[in-house]
């Protein structure tokens, strides 16, 4: 009793559990000194040994050991020596399972039967069974008279004697002995029987039924089973099966004759259901928290079946995923879905969830998704500077005239990083339509208040686009003297030098050479760098 309770309450490595088991084992020793077999009888409230109660428990609950045996029909247990060492724990396991079992689950008798004890026997009354009437051949039958039977046997014997021999093949027992290769074949078949994935096998059968039977009732029944099995397989972590179902459902949708639109929709919905944020979120959470992940290829097969609607959830999980093994798979799924469904990707550029929008913007650029230009352009009005910066980068990667046009306003963005990124994009793409805007900026007052990096970016951008037309302005900045011979600010002159270096024409080089002996170190360095750049 104590051992059963300890088994219920503690883990096997718990000292209290170990102590309880050891006590039971020790308690068997005096029993074996008296008898070879211990026979215990069960009533509703008592366990009896030699008709003497050894345990009484009044309650009829799953906590009562006598009741636990009695209610399922066990009336006697016979325990033989060795049980306490070899099979005690197995019995305790069973009792624990029975205690918790729902009415639908296996009862004590089935569990005892399956456990196949070596040192324990049991006698039971089968409460589930009704007495059955004995069987006999039915139907009226007319017995033949003895003369007919005698005639039949005589004729058969005479015939066989006349023939002299009998068909030896029928009598050669060796024909039926299994040889080594046949035994090997059977062993392999037994092995295969238990290796085959039964759920996939049944799915294949159901899919065949769906395709072959045009009857609407049958199809609805099969569809219901698909839906139920899919949930069960997801819950059981049988991802290959889910992937198989989703893949083959598509095949069935294409091949089935006279498929009603409603049935077609339900088939398609299977994949869509797995791709909903709720279902997919559950799945990814379970996988992320799993101590042991299913095989990579199995997950890969499932992820292949995600629909575009899964993209938002996948993006969202990419940022918070903890499991390093899962990440490359999810990355691959995200890449595949994004490239397969640009419209969904573009939609997600404007997603309210920042992680999703970030991932969508990033991937629009990586995929050079022309269709995303308008959405990305819209992001440039977003209040979040990081998103605007990402949008600039993506539009730059797309690099089409439309993308660069959308980018123009970014040179006047409120955020320095965005402005720099934008101007560098124009510079690298030699996008001349922005020149007017850039010229007004480099000639304007606001640039003078910017830091060196930004100034440099704008001047370099201007230099890359303006050509000789900009030399006069730049030369005046670098070499010109103002009122009382005063020169411009050193940083601005250095920027002009770098811009001239970008123009890189003879005229620009001449302008730079004029400043080679400049005393201001910052300017001189910029001039020398620009000259090196033009190869002078």
């Amino acid at each position: 009793m104590k051992a059963a309770r300890a088994h219920q309450l503690y883990l096997p490595n718990n000292p209290i559990y170990k102590g309880a088991i050891d006590s039971v084992r020790a308690a068997f020793a005096p029993v074996w000194s008296q008898t070879e077999e211990l026979e215990l009888a069960f009533s509703e409230t008592e366990i009896l040994w030699n008709a003497h109660p050894v345990l009484s428990e009044e309650g009829k609950s799953s906590d009562s050991l006598p009741w636990l045996f009695y209610k399922d029909g066990v009336r006697e247990l016979t325990i033989v020596k060795g049980f306490e060492n070899e099979e005690l724990v197995k019995l305790l396991d069973i009792l624990q399972r029975v205690r918790k079992a729902s009415p639908d689950e296996d009862d004590l008798l089935t569990l005892l039967w399956e456990a196949d004890f070596l040192t324990l026997r049991y006698r039971y009354v089968d409460l589930a069974m009704e007495p059955a009437a004995p069987l006999a051949d039915g139907g009226e039958i007319q017995q033949a008279p003895p003369s007919e039977i005698q005639q039949a046997t005589s004729a058969a014997v005479e015939e066989s004697r006349a023939q002299g021999v009998v068909n030896i093949q029928d009598f050669d027992s060796t024909l039926y002995f299994l040889d080594e290769p046949e035994i090997a074949y059977l062993q392999e078949e037994v092995r295969r029987e238990y290796l085959v994935d039964l759920r996939n096998n049944v799915l294949a059968i159901l899919l065949d039924i769906f395709e072959q039977q045009a009857d609407a009732k049958v199809r609805v029944e099969a569809l219901e089973h698909f839906e139920t099995m899919m949930v069960h397989m997801l819950a059981a972590g049988h991802f290959r099966g889910v992937a198989y179902l989703l893949r083959e459902a598509q095949v069935a949708a294409e091949r089935s004759r006279d498929l009603q639109p409603e049935h077609q929709r339900r088939l398609s919905d299977l994949a869509a259901k797995v791709s909903t944020p709720e279902a997919l979120g559950q799945l990814l959470q379970a996988l992320d928290e799993a101590v042991e992940l299913p095989p990579t290829e199995e997950l890969g097969e499932l992820f292949l079946q995600f629909r575009p609607t899964a993209l938002a959830t996948v993006f969202s999980w990419l940022t918070r995923l903890q499991n390093a093994r899962l990440r490359p798979l999810l990355e691959a799924a995200a890449g595949r879905l994004a490239s397969a469904s640009t419209s969904e990707l573009v939609r997600l550029v404007g997603a309210s969830e920042r992680d999703v929008a970030t991932e969508a913007i990033r991937r629009c650029g990586a995929l050079k998704a022309q269709a995303a230009v308008a959405a990305l352009g819209k992001v440039l009005t977003n209040t979040n500077a990081a998103l605007r910066l990402l949008a600039v980068q993506s539009l730059t990667e797309i690099g089409s005239p439309g993308a660069l046009q959308a980018l123009e306003r970014a040179v006047e963005d409120a955020d320095r990083e965005v402005r720099i990124a934008a101007v560098r994009a124009f510079s690298s793409r030699s996008y001349r339509p922005v020149l007017v805007r850039l010229e007004s900026m480099v000639k304007g007052k606001s640039i003078r208040e910017a830091d060196l990096t930004e100034k440099m970016a704008f001047f370099e951008g201007y230099g890359a686009l303006c050509g000789d037309a900009g030399i006069e302005f730049l030369d005046s900045l670098l070499n010109g003297k103002g009122f009382l011979g005063r020169r411009e600010d050193g940083e601005l002159r250095a920027c002009a030098a770098m811009a001239l270096g970008r123009i890189a024409t003879i005229k620009a080089t001449e302008s730079l050479r004029k400043a080679t002996s400049e005393k201001d170190v910052v300017v001189r360095n910029a001039v020398n760098k620009a000259l090196r750049g033009v190869g002078a």
Partner: protein, 497 residues
């Protein structure tokens, strides 16, 4: 649930023999070592038969046997090999038969039976030389004109003359007869309960209700236990061809045959259970076919045939109704779907997706074909002769049976299956009662004589072993032909209940 309900297993005989067939992982030492010992004994017997005594193969085999014997005596304290019915016991433990050892078990059983030996006690000091003498004597004493009992006495004398004292031989146990009667009673109870539960199952499915899976499990457990402990009685009951209850008895018969074939193939107890469940459910799809079509006596229209041919896939859908199961019976679904498919997949339904027929489906297909062909049904009032059916399954590849499994089935049922009416060369009718336990006597079953030489029908008749010979060494009775029992008004089932 109260104790006032029928106590069906209240006698001691119903004590579950759960210890009989553990899977390999949980095999005790004696089972593992015992199997090795029996295989070494078989090896030694073969070596002695094939080579001269001085041959190194003989010496090695004898040394191995002696060594295994010593090891067992050392660990168990004593060692006794005992044969009882179809089983070999080592001390009190019954050894498990499987695919790797069934030839050796069978040979040893044959030799013990032929020499009238029931038990062999082996002393710790049994040497290779002692074994050589014993095994040579066993080999030589197995043939002759006298009875097994006389051969046993002769063997004892020879062993004594040779001065071999490390073995003690004993005759077969007299309790075997009483045990067999008890087993027969248990078999009848198991069979009738199985039919009742199957009937209930089919009706429930037809009415759209959820059948009790617990009852079904218990029935299959009962069949597996019976087959493992004493299969002859239960297989004998499959000869009952209840015309009115065909659908249900057929399912039970297919379950029994399938489990028995599985046992021959060395499946574990739990694998047999899986197989039995699948077999019992194989025709569950018929409960979705209109009864007027199932019971139609005239020929079927194309539409009606299509309905009948739908039962495999209807079975799959019906099995989804078993919601009481913790897990859906997927294996049974596969078997229900495949059992008419044939091994080359040319049967029905035709699969659209790649598929390799399950071994359990192949087993059930054989059991199904055999029982269906040999039963009387509404549209088959004259059943085919079991022996002819067997021959057809063996020889006609178009039947789509797995030839190796057919062989295993013949090993189980004999060339003349249980229930076959045979004409003997003694001008008697006999009904095959059981396959001969002697492995090379498949065509000489145990037969119940049901008519005398004058043509008078006998009831209950007497059992004879067709392997028995007369004083001249000639078989006393030989089958010369099979016959249709209906033609002579012989109700085969009456001889089994």
């Amino acid at each position: 649930m109260t104790s006032t309900r029928s106590p069906l297993a209240a006698d001691r005989g119903a004590l579950n023999a759960s210890a009989a067939y553990p899977d390999t992982a949980s095999d005790s030492f004696i089972r593992r070592a015992g199997r090795s010992f029996i295989i070494s004994l078989y090896g030694a017997l073969r070596a002695i038969k094939l080579y001269p005594v001085e041959n190194i193969a003989v010496q090695k085999a004898l040394e191995e046997t002696a060594s295994h014997g010593r090891e067992l005596v050392g660990s168990e304290g004593e060692l006794e090999v005992r044969v009882s019915g179809e089983f070999i016991f080592l001390n009190a433990t019954r050894l498990r038969l499987d695919l790797d050892n069934y030839a050796s078990f069978s040979h040893l059983l044959s030799i013990f039976r032929a020499t009238g030996v029931g038990s062999l006690h082996i002393a710790a000091n049994a040497t290779a030389k002692d074994w050589l003498i014993l095994l040579s004597l066993l080999q030589a004493s197995g043939t002759g004109q006298d009875s097994p009992a006389a051969r046993y006495d002769l063997l004892l004398g020879k062993l004594q003359s040779a001065g071999v004292t490390s073995f003690t031989l004993g005759p077969p146990n007299d309790d075997d007869g009483a045990d067999r009667e008890q087993a027969k009673e248990r078999a009848k109870r198991t069979y009738s309960q199985s039919v009742a539960v199957t009937k209930d199952l089919m009706h429930s499915v037809r009415m759209g209700k959820t059948p009790s899976i617990k009852k079904i499990k218990r029935v299959v457990q009962g069949i597996v236990d019976q087959i493992l402990n004493e299969e002859t009685s239960l297989i004998g009951l499959t000869a009952i061809r209840d015309y009115d209850e065909y659908t249900f008895t057929h399912s039970v018969n297919v379950c029994i045959f399938s489990v028995a074939i599985g046992k021959r193939l060395g499946l574990t107890k739990l694998q047999l259970y899986d197989l039995g469940m699948s077999a019992l459910f194989h025709d569950i799809g018929k409960s979705r076919v209109p009864t007027e079509v199932l019971n139609k006596t005239s020929s079927l229209t194309d539409d009606e045939w299509r309905l009948i041919a739908a039962h495999p896939w209807l079975g799959v859908l019906a099995l989804f109704q078993l919601r009481g199961a913790q897990e859906l019976p997927y294996r049974a679904m596969v078997v229900a779907h495949e059992h008419h498919m044939k091994i080359d997949l040319t049967g029905y339904p035709r699969p659209m997706r790649p598929r390799q027929m399950s071994m359990f489906s192949k087993i059930v297909a054989i059991a199904d074909s055999f029982d269906a062909a040999t039963s009387r049904r509404v549209y088959q009032t004259t059943p085919l002769n079991p022996a002819q059916v067997m021959q057809e399954m063996r020889d006609n590849a178009r039947r789509g049976m797995d030839p190796v499994l057919v062989k295993a089935f013949v090993n189980l049922t004999g060339i003349y299956p249980v229930g076959t009416l045979v004409v003997l060369d003694t001008f008697e009718f006999g009904i095959v009662h059981a396959v001969n336990p002697i492995q090379d006597m498949l065509s000489r079953p145990i037969v119940r004589i049901v008519s005398d030489t004058q043509g008078n029908l006998l009831y209950p008749g007497t059992l004879v072993d067709l392997a028995d010979r007369n004083a001249d060494g000639v078989f006393q009775r030989t089958i010369i032909k099979t016959e249709n029992p209906d033609r002579y008004g012989i109700r085969v089932g009456d001889y089994f209940v």
